[in-house]
């Protein structure tokens, strides 16, 4: 942090210890970055992703009586976030189809400008990921963005390590192939 005070936030304060509570600020709020990356990987929209994380945390806050009974508060938050993200992104693509049809007449039309943007980092990533099946998208996210090992990914997704590696291999091969096609033919 560039200058200014450093205030406590990495451990429960004396107040929280006094109250013997799970701290929203110290146990749940720090998950925001991770939840944001997840929402971003599904919606590909920074403003939407931020809203989703806000809504996720509000929902979790609303259920605070249930916190003591939850095994992993992180898994709990992640699930809510993922569901919200999928929900919003489905609603959005439905809207996009309608919008495209009304504007262009054909759903797949895109301007040359959009095609160019699609080649640059973020846009390209979105397009390539969207072409993959959801299971492979999840593995890419966990591996490439969250830096998880095959073992950790396998545990999270309930697969074997072999399945994870095979899936990742297919995903990367597909991406490499599509990448080359886009670069060469501008598809």
């Amino acid at each position: 942090m560039a200058g200014g005070c450093n205030f406590p936030g990495t451990r429960p304060s004396s107040l929280q210890r006094e109250m013997k509570k799970i701290s929203f600020r110290d146990d749940i709020l720090p998950l925001k970055d991770k939840l944001y990356r997840m929402a971003l990987g599904i919606t590909f929209d920074t403003a939407e992703a931020e809203d989703i994380v806000q809504d996720t945390l509000i929902r979790v806050w609303g259920k605070r009586e249930e916190w003591p009974g939850i095994d992993s508060i992180e898994a709990y938050c992640t699930t809510i976030c993922r569901n919200l993200s999928i929900d919003r992104s489905q609603k959005k693509s439905a809207q996009h189809v309608l919008l495209d049809e009304s504007l262009h007449g054909h759903p797949d039309a895109s301007t040359p400008h959009e095609k160019l943007a699609a080649r640059e980092g973020w846009g390209l990533l979105q397009n390539l990921l969207r072409e993959l099946p959801p299971a492979q998208q999840a593995i890419i996210h966990l591996r490439e963005i969250e830096g998880k090992s095959y073992k950790e990914i396998a545990e999270t997704l309930g697969l074997s390590e072999g399945q994870v590696k095979a899936s990742l291999f297919h995903a990367r091969q597909q991406i490499r192939k599509r990448y080359t096609e886009i670069q060469e033919y501008g598809l």
């Binding site: 200014g4 929203f24 931020e50 994380v53 806050w61 080649r119 973020w122 998880k148 091969q173 990448y179």
Partner: protein
């Protein structure tokens, strides 16, 4: 410069033979401004991933979520109040005050306060947004953080404008 190492890493990456650390190296390498011509091909992919990985919510995220939670608590509290204890939510009362004052032609731009008495804040009217001191504390540390940041920026700016070794920055009183 020999980019053989990077080229090998890229090839191994597509074959799923790289470790997490090696993949981090690739992302960092391709996120540089200048990447040699012959390696340009996959720049967008790795750079895009790094972009995603480094993405964070906005700087005011914490403040806004705390505000929303405070608001949620306020709403719940209001529902629970009995008719006898009920007061209108602060901002609705303030809005009514604004209307009354406008009608009464008392809308002045300066604050008026009785001549002598201390600093004249009507603390009786302050209604807590948080029941839970732990939440109030979190909100306070957040707020202090924000002001701290601003003050330290001011200090730095002032010392840039008035560089005088060993002197305190000039501050308007």
């Amino acid at each position: 410069m020999d980019y053989k190492y990077i080229e090998q890493l890229v090839e191994r990456y597509w074959q799923c033979q790289t470790s997490v650390e090696e993949e981090a190296i690739l992302k960092a390498f391709f996120s540089q401004e200048r990447v040699p011509e012959h390696l340009q091909t996959y720049k967008a992919w790795f750079a895009g991933e790094k972009l995603w990985q480094d993405s964070k919510p906005g700087p005011d995220f914490d403040t806004r979520i705390m505000a929303r939670i405070g608001h949620e608590e306020h709403v719940v509290k209001a529902r629970r109040m009995t008719l006898a204890k009920r007061l209108m939510p602060f901002y609705k009362a303030a809005a009514s005050v604004a209307i009354i004052l406008t009608l009464g032609n008392a809308a002045q731009n300066s604050f008026r306060h009785p001549a002598d008495e201390g600093n004249g804040y009507n603390y009786e009217s302050y209604q807590d947004s948080y029941d839970d001191p732990a939440m109030a504390y979190d909100q306070m540390t957040d707020a202090l953080q924000m002001v701290s940041q601003s003050l330290s920026e001011t200090q730095r700016q002032d010392s840039l404008l008035h560089p005088a070794p060993g002197d305190q920055p000039n501050q308007k009183q």
